[in-house]
Amino acid sequence: MVDVHYTPIIPLLPLVSFALFVLGASVRSWLGKGARLSDQVAYVSVALMGVSWLLALAVAFDVLVLRSGQPYYYAYPWLSVGSVLIRFGFMVDPMSAVMLIVVATVAFGVQWYSLGYIAGDEKQPRFFAYLSLFSSAMLALVVANTLLELFFAWEIMGLASYLLIGFWYEKPAAMRAAKKAFVVTRVGDTFFFIGMLWLVLQTGTTDFANLVLGTAHGGALSATGENAVITGGPYLKALMGTTTLGWIALLIYGGAVGKSAQFPLHVWLPDAMEGPTPVSALIHAATMVAAGVYLVARMYPIFDLAAPLTVLGITFRPLGLVALVGLGTALMAAYIAFSQSDIKRILAYSTISQLGFMFIGLGCGGTVVGENGVRTFLAIGFSAAMFHLMTHAFFKGLLFLGSGSVIHGTGTQDIWKMGGLWRHMRWTAITFLIGYAALAGVAPLAGFWSKDQILEAAWEYNRLIFWGALLGAGMTAFYMTRLWTVAFTGQWSGGEAAATGHQAVGGHGQHDHGHGGHGLPHESPRSMLIPLVALAGLAAVAGFVGLPKANRFGEMVKYVPPPGWLEPAGAVEEHALHLPTPLRMAQAPGGTVPDSPAVPHSSPAEGDSPRPYGAQQLAPEPLQGGALSFPTEEGLPAVGGEAHAGAAHTPAGHHEVDMGLVWRIGLLSTLAALLGILLGASGYRGRRFNFRAPGALTPMESAVYALSLNKFYLDEIYWAILVTPLFWVTRTARAVDQAIIDGLVNGAGLVTRGISVLSRLVDIWVVDGLVNFSGWICGRLGQGLRRLQTGQVQNYVLVVFIGVLLVIAALVPSR
C-alpha cells in the first residue's frame, strides 16, 4: 500500500528526470554527437512526473482521509547554525496535502500538454529538463519541514522559472523578461531571507512542527493522532504578542510579495508571459506564484500572533496590511486587464488580481482586537484563501492551457485578431468557457464557492474591503467576458494576416507552433486537449469540497489561534503565568493583570518561563520513519496545558455558519458577476467598444484608459527611480578613477605648478643666478606632477593616501 512514507520520492522523481537530461546531454556531448537529446526522452520525463503525481495523490489521500489530518513528519539532523539544529526532512500536513494535489496535478497535466505543444521545437528536451527541475523544486517546497528547506526550494524554483521564461531567448523580450523576473523576485527574497534569519535568532528553530503546527486544543503534536492545525507552535510562545514577530512577519511577507506578484513587485509577471504558454500555466498561474500565498499561510501564526505595528503614526496589524495590499493589487490588476489585447497578458493580470484575492482572504482572517481589548477570531479567511488557491490553480491553469491551444490554433496572441473561435475550435472553446465561468464566479463552478468564502471573510473583517473585493469580482467578470466575446464569438478576423506590421506579437507565431501562415484556425492535437478536459472537470467540481454547510476543506485546512490567546481579560488571572509579559500586557490594556501567585497546576518542572535564545535544542538523534514522531521536546509544555482542552471557550470549535449571510453574499457576488458579464457582453458584442480607434474617447476618458493600457506607468516609474540611479551610481563608481581622481591630481598638479611658476618668478626677479638651482628643482617637480595626469599608478597612490587620511580621521578623535 502506498502511504505517506513515499513522500520523499515525490519531489525526487522529477529531479531524477532532470538529472537524466543533464547527464544524457553531457554524455552525448562527450561522445561528440552534439548535446541535443532525441525527443523521445520527453516521455521519460512525463512518465516520471506521472508516477510522482500518483504518489502525491496517494499521500494526500492517506493524510487527508485515512489518517484524518494527522500529519506525516520525518527528519534527520542536517546542520547546526550556532546552537540551532536544523533538520532536513519532509512534512505533510493537510495543507501540504492539498498543495500536493494541486501542484502535482497541474504539473503532470502541463507536462503532458507540452508533449504536443512543444513538439518539433529544436530545444524540446531542454524544455522538459527545465520543467522537471521546476516541478521538483515546487514539490519539495510543499513537503518541506523547515523554513530553510522551503527557502531552498523557493530559490531553485525561481531559477527554473528564470530559465523557462527565457526559454525562447532568440526574442530579446524573453531574455529581458527572464532577467527582470529573477531580479525583481530576488528583491522580495532578500527580505524573506532576513526575516527567516531573524526568526531563527529569536526562536532558535525553523522547523514548522515547532513553530506553526499544533493540535486544535493547544496540545503539542504527539502520537495522540489528533488532527494537526496551523497554530502557534511551542517555540513561538515567547514571541507571541510582540512587535518583533510582526516585523519578522512583514519581512517574510516581502518574499511573498515578490513571488506572488503583489504590488509593488508585480511588474515581472506580465512580462513573464514571454515564456512558452505551458510555463505560464504551470508556473505563473497555478503553482509558483501561489507559493507566496502558501508561504504566508504556512507562517500564518507569525502574522496573526504579532502585536500591531506602528509606522509613521499609523498602527496596523500585519494581516491588515496583507489584506490592503491584496485589495489594491486585485483592483489595479483587474483594471489593467481591461485594456490589454494580448490574451496571455490579460490572463496574467487576472492572475495577479486573483492572487490579490487570496491575500485578501488571508488578511481578513486571524484575530482582531476590538475596542475593549477583547480578541475576536475570524476563522473563515485562512481556509478561504487556501480554498481559492486550489480552485484558482485549476481554472487558471485551464485558461492558460486553453489560451495556449488558441495561440497554437490561430498563430496570434492578439484577441482582436481572433474572433469566432467558438466555431473553429470547439473543444478548446468549451473548456475555456468553463474556466471563464469559474473565474467570473458563476455558480456552481469552483470559483464561485471560493470567492464567496473570501467575500464572507472580508465582510466579517471590514466592510470597506468587502465592497472593494466585490467590485473586483465584478471587474473580473467584465474583463473575462471581454476576452471571451472578442476572441470566441463573432467572425474570424484573420489572425496575423489581418494586420501586417504588428511585429510585437507576431514574433510568437514562429515559436508557439511549427507552421506560419494561417488560414482558418484549427483545433489542437489530442495530447493537448486531454489535459484541458481534465482540468475543466476539476474547475467545475473542485468547489464542492468547500460548500458552506459541509466545508470539508475548511475542516481540514484551518488555522486556530493557540488557547489563551483569545481569553478575555478577566480570565487572564488563571493563565497569566503561561504567557510571557508582553502578551499579558497586550491582553489587558486596562492594566488589570494581578500579580498572581503560582498557579497550582503549573509545576516548576514544566519550565514555563520564556526560553532563552537557543537554550533548547532539538533532539539530535534521527527519527525513524516517524510519521508519529515530532521534534518537540517532551519538556516543552503545551501552551495552556491540558487543563484547557475541555474549556468551553475553544476557538477550534466549528465556524458557525450564518446561512443568511452566505445567501446574501452569494446573491451579491452573483449580481456583481452578472453585471460584469452583461456589461462586457453588451459592450464587446460586435466589438462596439474599441477604444483604440482614434477619436473614440474624450481626452479625459483617454487619460483614464491610458492609465490602464500602460499599467499605471509602473515600469516607467521603476525605471526612472530605480534602474537609472543604479546605473548612474555604477557609472560614477567606474568613473571615479577617471574623472574625480584625475581632477584631484590635476588640482594638485595645478597648485604645484602654480608654486613652481611663482618660485620661478621669484627666481627671475628676486634671486637670479644663485637660486636658479631651487627653481630648477621646482620646475622638475612641476613637470613630474604634470606627468602624473597621464599615469595611473600615481592616481592610485593618491587614492590610497586619501583613504589613509580618511581612516585615520575617522578613527582618531579630534581634540
Partner: protein
Amino acid sequence: MLNPYIPVLILMAVAVAVAAGMSVATSLIARIFRLRRPNPIKSQPYECGMTPIGGARVRFSVKFYLVAMLFILFDVEAIFLYPWAVVHRHLGWLGLVEMGLFIGILAAGYLYLWKRGAFEWD
C-alpha cells in the same frame, strides 16, 4: 606632551630664517655690487677640465643593474654573519644550525642564479 620640543622648533625656525635671510641678503648685495661681464667659457658648467661631450643621460646595459643587485643581496646577507660571529658562543649549537640553514638558503639562491646564468655577462 610635545612641550620639550618647542624650543627646538623655535631654534629651527630661527636657523632657517637666518640661513634664508643671509642667502637672500648676499644675493641682493651681490646683485648691487658685482660686475656683469659674461662670456661663453664662464657660462659653462665647469670652467676647467675636459669639455663635456654629449648629455649625461646615457643608457647603461641592464646587466649592470643585475650585477649590482646581486652584489647588494649577497653583500648585505654576508654582513649578517658579523653580529652572529660576535655572539656565536652564546648562541651555541642552535645558533650554528640556524646560521647553517641561513647560508643553505643563500646557497640555494646562489646555485639557482648560477644555473640560470645570471652571472654570465652574455
